[in-house]
């Protein structure tokens, strides 16, 4: 069921907030206010279940009270969460600067909402959430090279560093996910959760190789593909010249004539990306810049929790 509070986190509302920091805070506060019904809780303090003692269990976990009442040995089991390292990779290539969502503010200037805006907002929100839960959060902004790296921290002031890094404008260069991933992996030795936010307008084989290396390194990965709605619909009707944001090439054609093939191409690309993610056991999400961010945050939190449980069970 959709809540009314979700409307506050729709790009239409977020785009009106001039301050990026304010935007992210509002997003998280709104998100948190809606979490009271969540079945998920903090791990270190919550009792989970009892199980019968087997040889080899740590005697410190025996529930002596139960033993005193029933003369049976049960081990007390807790849902205990260790701190998580989250590294967010944000694609800042020129193609991320595309966006068609425009918020028409009465009496004010029009606000343009690009894929990069959407991506950085999501990144800020994730990092805020993670920091709230004492997770360490790192940030990598990349295009064809690494543009900005923020080391992992869990301190309360770290979020401002992250926000500051995300406030940078996207580059004019092309995307190189493989390079960004490689450079990032070289800096982390322990196991981290990587959130890769990009439009993934890159060679699928390169993307596949990059994900394979992440998998090989034992990291967890969530792929968030940000696409503008126009990129998904391509409902231009007038023949116009199209200029490549990344390379500057241009072609002129009738978009109606090319639309079908274009949609097939981009759909194929997205499906291919989804398949790659699935093959490596990672999550993939396609995000429309015209849609609200809250659902994707909720979904991410759910994923994180379940993944944490899975990891604990293992």
């Amino acid at each position: 069921m959709t809540r009314i509070t979700d409307d506050y986190f729709h790009p239409e509302m977020l785009s009106r907030l001039g301050s990026f920091e304010l935007r992210a805070q509002m997003l998280i506060e709104g998100f948190r206010s809606g979490m009271h019904e969540s079945p998920y809780h903090g791990v270190s303090v919550e009792f989970a279940e009892h199980r019968q003692y087997v040889q080899g269990d740590d005697l410190r976990h025996l529930d002596w009270k139960v033993f005193g009442r029933s003369d049976k040995l049960y081990v007390k089991q807790f849902e205990q969460e260790t701190n998580l390292d989250v590294v967010i990779l944000v694609d800042s290539s020129a193609s991320m600067n595309y966006g068609t969502f425009t918020n028409n503010i009465p009496g004010g200037s029009n606000t343009h909402w690009s894929k990069y805006d959407h991506a950085t907002t999501i990144a800020a929100a994730i990092s805020y959430l993670a920091l709230q839960q004492r997770d360490r959060v790192g940030l990598v902004v990349f295009a064809d090279e690494l543009r900005c790296i923020v080391e992992r921290r869990s301190t309360s002031g770290h979020w401002r560093k992250l926000i500051s890094a995300l406030s940078a404008l996207p580059a004019d260069s092309a995307t190189s996910i493989a390079y960004g991933v490689d450079q990032t992996l070289a800096k982390f030795t322990n196991r981290v959760l990587i959130v890769l936010i990009s439009d993934f307008f890159d060679d699928p084989s390169q993307i596949n190789n990059a994900i394979a290396r992440i998998r090989h390194s034992g990291h967890d990965l969530i792929l968030l593909q940000i696409l503008d709605r126009q990129e998904m619909r391509f409902d231009f009707r007038v023949p116009s010249p199209f200029v490549d944001l990344e390379y500057g090439n241009s072609i002129q054609f009738d978009p109606r004539a090319i639309r079908k093939i274009y949609l097939e191409e981009i759909t194929s690309h997205c499906n291919h990306l989804k398949t790659i993610a699935r093959n490596f056991g990672y999550d993939y999400h396609l995000i429309d810049t015209h849609e609200s961010i809250i659902p994707i945050l909720r979904m991410l939190l759910s994923k994180r929790t379940s993944r944490f449980k899975r990891g604990q069970n293992r």
Binding site: T2, Y98, M232, P241, V243, D254, A257, I261
Partner: protein, 807 residues
């Protein structure tokens, strides 16, 4: 292939530019779009751009073809008869044009626009006999034009159309590759009924020319002859050119309107003949009469009256209160009664010029309006002089520095004859000219020059006189009595343009003379008054001349000769019969004239000298009558109004110096000069009657020319069917029809199955098919695929969580 409405077809063709322009306009004005997912666009573009381009071209061609076909369909494209159209026609695809003219490659319309085509009538006899206002009735010509236009409505494109008029001279308008009605209508607008006589002969010759030039093998033609075939509109007395020997005669069909079976009542002025074309102001003898001839056609059973009116074009003098006036103009009138069966009537009207200012005066005679108005008018002019200035050249004697004329000289006798009462009053002012050094200055203001002593003039004087005569003046010559004529020079003949030679001496006449008119009297005297054809010099005294001649004795005649050798005088051939006015029984010319044409003067030669022998008064009164009549009528000859007819070129014989002549009232007229005949003539003859003034380049009036209708052209009696059939069938076999309004049926009966077919129907089929194809392509070609691939969006976004916002 021909297009009926070419303008629509042209618009359709030009409409092809619309999609092309749209294509280029859309390409030009769009702003570039910054795009991120370019790799997919490139991939898609590489896959589809060739196909898209082809689709574009196909669609563009389809749309252009549709617009073109719309234009051609609206323009009514016609296929001429050929194997394709026949093939299509067999399958019922073509819509054959259901009219007739369309079946012919050549359509010739011969339309009667001669004077009789202006007849207005009803088909009931009784109505035409009463006084009916005919002004509201359409003329025969108008009805024929309607018929002609209905024929043109049916003419197929690419046919050849010829329109021939029958008024003299027959004219031909030819339209090669007839495309639309408007082009023919422009020609029709220029055709009008005329006052000219019929020229069916010329029309048939024009028809033959058209057929010879237009009809080819496998072509067909239709000829339509539109006339009422009244007697006045045909020339049945002349034979026509036969077309039956024409190579393609069998390919032609000839239609003619049935001739009128009801005669049309019509009264006309056949002629108006003034007895004096030139007269003297306020003179009894100078007034003259008008002999007006009326003719009647049609129903002659009833009594009828006609009122003849004659009106001058000038305004009356202020003090004239005695004459009838219409619009302040002088009117004389007379009413005549037609008896049953009477066809001709003559009316005499007295012209009283007592109140008329002198000068050339135009007159119109007319009768009341009837079924045919064109012949109700007759135009003429009269020349009114204040006096007749006569100059006599005779021998003069000088006594005490004063010159005198011998009392018994020829000049004296002439003066006495012109002014017999010695009062000095009369129509003539007489002046003597000195033969010594006589030149052009002496001829200023002279109306008539009488030379009684030609032997005294030298060559220079004759040259001056010749020039004066050729400017349209009257010269009266006579021999110098018994005196020798040997001094006369041959240059005289050349100077005066005479065809005969002066006699050297008189020939003795041994018998008494008695003038007779040859046409009504037995010639038993030695001098025969031979009234030459058309010569009116002595007409006024012809009834009295016998009595006048009784007391006259002549002894010598100085007859013109054709040689100078008196031993071999051949008198009979010296003067042509046309020039003779009187001659003796042995054919010696006595009174001759030389030049009749106005503008080149008039010379009269009297073969006897004015002397005591025959001119003594009062015992010999002939001298007075003869002299005065020669002078008066001789002057009339030089100022005679010349009559032309509509359809005939006006010819003027004024000297070459005035070679640029404007003719009033004919604005389109062109003048040509004939060097051989020394005449001017109009290139295009006038086609309406009226008075036309010929002026020189300085605007000075040279002469007045009257153009009057041919009386026979107004004959509105019906033509005998047998005569008409036989006359027209000498040209071709005609099919007679009542009218051409049912021309479709008429031509369906024709054996000519050559068809022109309209392919609009098949074009519409093709157009429909093309529209369906275009619609299909437009929906299914890649450029129109937005609605078709909407599903991809749903599929693509299905993996993302979508928010359905509720408000």
């Amino acid at each position: 292939m021909t297009i009926l409405h070419s303008q629509l077809a042209i618009m359709g063709t030009l409409a092809i530019l619309i999609p092309i322009l749209i294509h280029f306009l859309f390409r030009r004005r769009q702003q570039p779009i910054q795009w991120g997912a370019m790799r997919f666009l490139f991939a898609a573009y590489n896959k589809v751009h060739k196909r898209t381009r082809i689709e574009y071209i196909v669609l563009l061609l389809l749309r252009c073809a549709i617009l073109l076909l719309v234009g051609l369909t609206l323009g009514r494209v016609m296929l001429q008869d050929n194997s394709i159209s026949r093939f299509l026609n067999d399958f019922g695809i073509l819509s054959t044009v259901s009219n007739s003219g369309a079946g012919s490659n050549l359509v010739v319309i011969i339309i009667d626009n001669s004077m009789c085509s202006e007849v207005k009538y009803k088909n009931t006899v009784t109505e035409t006999t009463r006084a009916v206002d005919y002004s509201n009735y359409p003329t025969s010509f108008v009805r024929h034009m309607i018929q002609a236009k209905s024929i043109l409505q049916t003419v197929a494109p690419e046919s050849h159309v010829a329109i021939i008029t029958t008024a003299q001279p027959s004219k031909l308008a030819y339209i090669n590759n007839y495309a639309e009605l408007s082009s023919a209508e422009k020609i029709f607008d220029r055709i009008h009924s005329t006052h000219a006589p019929p020229d069916i002969i010329g029309a048939i010759e024009n028809l033959k020319q058209v057929i010879d030039g237009s009809i080819k093998e496998n072509n067909t033609g239709s000829v339509y002859l539109l006339s009422d075939f009244l007697i006045g509109s045909v020339n049945t007395e002349h034979s026509l050119v036969s077309l039956k020997e024409s190579q393609y005669y069998e390919q032609l069909t000839f239609y003619a309107l049935n001739p009128q079976t009801t005669p049309v009542n019509n009264v006309q002025i056949a002629s108006v003949e003034p007895t004096r074309h030139t007269s003297v102001y306020n003179s009894v003898l100078g007034s003259g009469q008008l002999q007006i001839q009326l003719r009647r056609f049609g129903n002659l059973q009833d009594k009828q009256h006609s009122t003849i009116r004659v009106q001058s074009s000038y305004t009356l003098l202020d003090n004239d209160i005695t004459h009838t006036k219409i619009d302040e103009r002088y009117i004389i009138e007379n009413t005549v009664i037609w008896e049953r069966g009477q066809t001709e009537i003559e009316s005499i009207l007295q012209i009283n010029n007592q109140w008329i200012k002198h000068g050339i005066r135009d007159y119109t005679a007319w009768i009341e309006s009837d079924t045919l108005d064109s012949d109700n008018y007759y135009y003429f002019d009269l020349n009114i002089l204040e006096h007749i200035n006569v100059k006599i050249i005779d021998q003069q004697e000088t006594i005490n520095d004063s010159r005198y004329i011998d009392t018994f000289s020829g000049g004296s006798w002439i003066e006495r004859a012109l002014m017999p009462d010695d009062t000095g009053l009369g129509d003539f002012i007489i002046e003597y000219g000195n033969p010594i050094g006589f030149d052009e200055v002496d001829l200023v203001d002279v109306d008539v020059l009488i030379v009684s002593r030609p032997d005294l003039l030298d060559n220079a004087s004759w040259a001056s006189i010749g020039k004066w005569v050729k400017r349209g003046h009257f010269l009266w010559l006579m021999p110098p009595g018994s005196k020798s004529t040997a001094q006369w020079t041959g240059d005289v003949n050349q100077a005066l343009g005479l065809s005969w030679v002066w006699p050297l001496e008189g020939i003795s006449v041994k018998h008494s003379l008695d003038f007779k008119e040859t046409h009504d009297k037995i010639v038993n005297t030695e001098i025969d008054y031979n009234k030459a054809s058309g010569n009116t010099l002595l007409t006024m005294i012809s009834n009295d001349i016998d009595d006048l001649l009784k007391a006259v004795d002549l002894y010598y005649i100085y007859a013109p000769i054709d040689g100078v050798n008196t031993d071999s005088i051949i008198l009979s051939t010296a003067v042509s019969n046309n020039d003779k006015i009187t001659d003796t029984l042995n054919q010696m010319p006595l009174l001759i004239d030389t030049t009749h044409d106005s503008g080149s003067g008039y010379v009269v030669y009297l073969g006897i000298a004015a002397d005591l022998n025959w001119s003594t008064l009062p015992t010999s009164p002939l001298m007075v009558a003869l002299t005065q009549e020669i002078v008066r009528q001789g002057l009339c000859e030089t100022h005679k109004s010349r009559i032309f007819h509509p359809g005939t070129n006006i010819v003027s014989s004024y000297p070459k110096e005035s070679h640029s002549i404007d003719i009033d009232g004919i604005d389109f007229i062109q003048i040509t000069y004939n060097n051989d005949a020394n005449t001017f003539s109009t290139v295009t003859p006038p086609d309406t009657s009226g008075l036309y003034n010929v002026r020189d380049t300085n605007g000075i009036l040279l002469e007045s020319v009257a153009v009057n209708v041919y009386a026979d052209s107004g004959n509105t009696n019906i033509c005998s069917a047998n005569i008409l059939n036989s006359w027209l069938n000498s040209v071709a076999e005609w099919t007679w029809v009542d009218n051409f309004s049912n021309i479709d049926d008429l031509l369906l009966e024709s054996n000519h199955s050559n068809v022109n077919s309209e392919i609009s129907t098949i074009l519409m089929y093709i157009l429909g098919i093309l529209i369906i194809i275009e619609t299909f392509f437009a929906r299914h070609f890649s450029h129109a695929s937005i609605s078709q691939v909407e599903g991809h969006i749903g599929e693509l976004t299905s993996s993302s969580t979508r928010i359905n916002r509720t408000q």
